[in-house]
């Protein structure tokens, strides 16, 4: 059976060779598909009141930081589902939800074609507060690249750093964000 998400897998393979444009397309597509999945997962766990956008963001961060664990010869979506499931369970555990969530929750709630969902306009995301926990330079680089859309070279010139260093700081900041989210909020 042909993989219905073959195009996404192609983008991921390109991303793994450093193609930022393909990567952006992939992450956008994944975000659209992860929203309904996370929402259904929360509903099945009886926590539909929780904001799923955080879990979508945590999953995207994990997809990014763990992308070397995807086997390029395999379909992409089962791997994404496994990560989404882990992040969903982890998020519920951190919020004090200790009941066992069946491992099938996400897998059975991600049909082949699920209506993609755009980001809710008023997503009150925790990651926003987290930016405040980065150092000033880290924040400047994350905000510069993510929100203002500047290139590493541009930021490097402004901050007096080599663009390679800017990239390293960006990567470390993203890992730090993932760590801060994982360890939970006070």
């Amino acid at each position: 059976m042909p993989d219905p998400f073959a195009e996404l897998a192609d983008w991921m393979r390109a991303a793994n060779r450093g193609d930022a444009f393909a990567y952006r397309q992939l992450l956008d597509a994944l975000a659209l598909r992860l929203r309904p999945v996370v929402r259904r997962g929360l509903a099945r766990a009886g926590r539909s009141e929780l904001d799923g956008e955080d879990i979508v963001q945590e999953t995207l961060l994990a997809v990014h930081l763990k992308r070397q664990t995807w086997d390029e010869t395999q379909p992409l979506m089962p791997w994404v589902r496994a990560i989404a499931h882990y992040k969903l369970v982890d998020a519920l555990r951190r919020r004090g939800f200790r009941e066992h969530l069946p491992i099938e929750t996400v897998e059975t709630t991600l049909p082949e074609r699920l209506e993609p969902e755009a980001e809710p306009a008023a997503a009150a995301s925790d990651i926003k507060e987290l930016l405040g926990r980065l150092s000033e330079r880290q924040r400047e680089i994350v905000v510069g690249m993510a929100i203002e859309g500047r290139s590493a070279k541009e930021l490097g010139e402004r901050l007096g750093m080599a663009d390679g260093t800017v990239r390293v700081v960006l990567h470390r900041s993203l890992r730090l964000l993932a760590d801060i989210v994982r360890k939970g909020k006070p």
Partner: protein
């Protein structure tokens, strides 16, 4: 931060992926096992009569058991680096099966009057100290490598990592140890492995979440 902005930040960080989880693990383990080997050669060394021992079935069987445990459980730890890998008990069952078969063979072959002596052995305390010590460097390697992986069951994976490092440590220690009876191995080697499995599980809960 909006999801769109997060995606922009992630896309800006699109670097080519350099290493597969397997290669990361092999590199880390090579270093950890090398450290354990140096420690073994400096502190213990192989038993002097190893040439003759290799002609006795008990010594060879002991080596086969620890080497098979090291191989199977290490392979399981590598597998668990990927998020699609579900925990499996088969590698453990295979090792336990071999151990039980060896135990039955020993009980059938040797008179019951020798069992107590074989069980207690001569080196139980050294065994319980040396195996955990020899497994520390491999344990560190496993944990470091697995932190770049994505194990979906961190506590279980930690326990497997503790067991695998104990099996690697035991593979070295077995070359030094004079107690070859399966009665001794099943008791004391297993006790050492159990200690490391517990330590691994605790480390897993703390260090292998992502």
């Amino acid at each position: 931060m909006k999801t769109d902005e997060l995606i922009a930040a992630l896309a800006a960080d699109a670097q080519p992926v350099r290493r597969s989880p397997e290669r990361t693990m092999i590199g880390a383990l090579a270093a950890g096992v090398a450290v354990a080997l140096v420690g073994f050669l400096l502190a213990l060394g192989a038993r002097p009569d190893i040439g003759q021992a290799l002609h006795t079935w008990r010594f060879v069987l002991k080596l086969v058991i620890v080497a098979m445990a090291a191989l199977l459980i290490t392979r399981e730890c590598v597998r668990l680096m990927r998020p699609l890998a579900r925990p499996s008990v088969w590698p453990i069952l295979a090792v336990v099966g071999l151990l039980v078969a060896a135990l039955i063979a020993e009980l059938l072959i040797s008179p019951s009057s020798t069992w107590g002596h074989k069980l207690v052995g001569t080196n139980a305390v050294i065994c319980l100290t040396a195996i955990p010590l020899l497994s520390l460097a491999p344990l560190a390697s496993f944990v470091i490598a697995l932190r770049s992986g994505a194990p979906i069951a961190p506590v279980w994976t930690g326990a497997m990592v503790g067991l695998a490092s104990a099996a690697l440590g035991a593979s070295l220690y077995a070359l030094h140890c004079f107690d070859d009876s399966p009665l001794f191995v099943a008791t004391w080697y297993s006790a050492a492995a159990l200690i490391m499995t517990g330590i691994g599980a605790i480390l897993g809960a703390r260090l292998l979440r992502w």
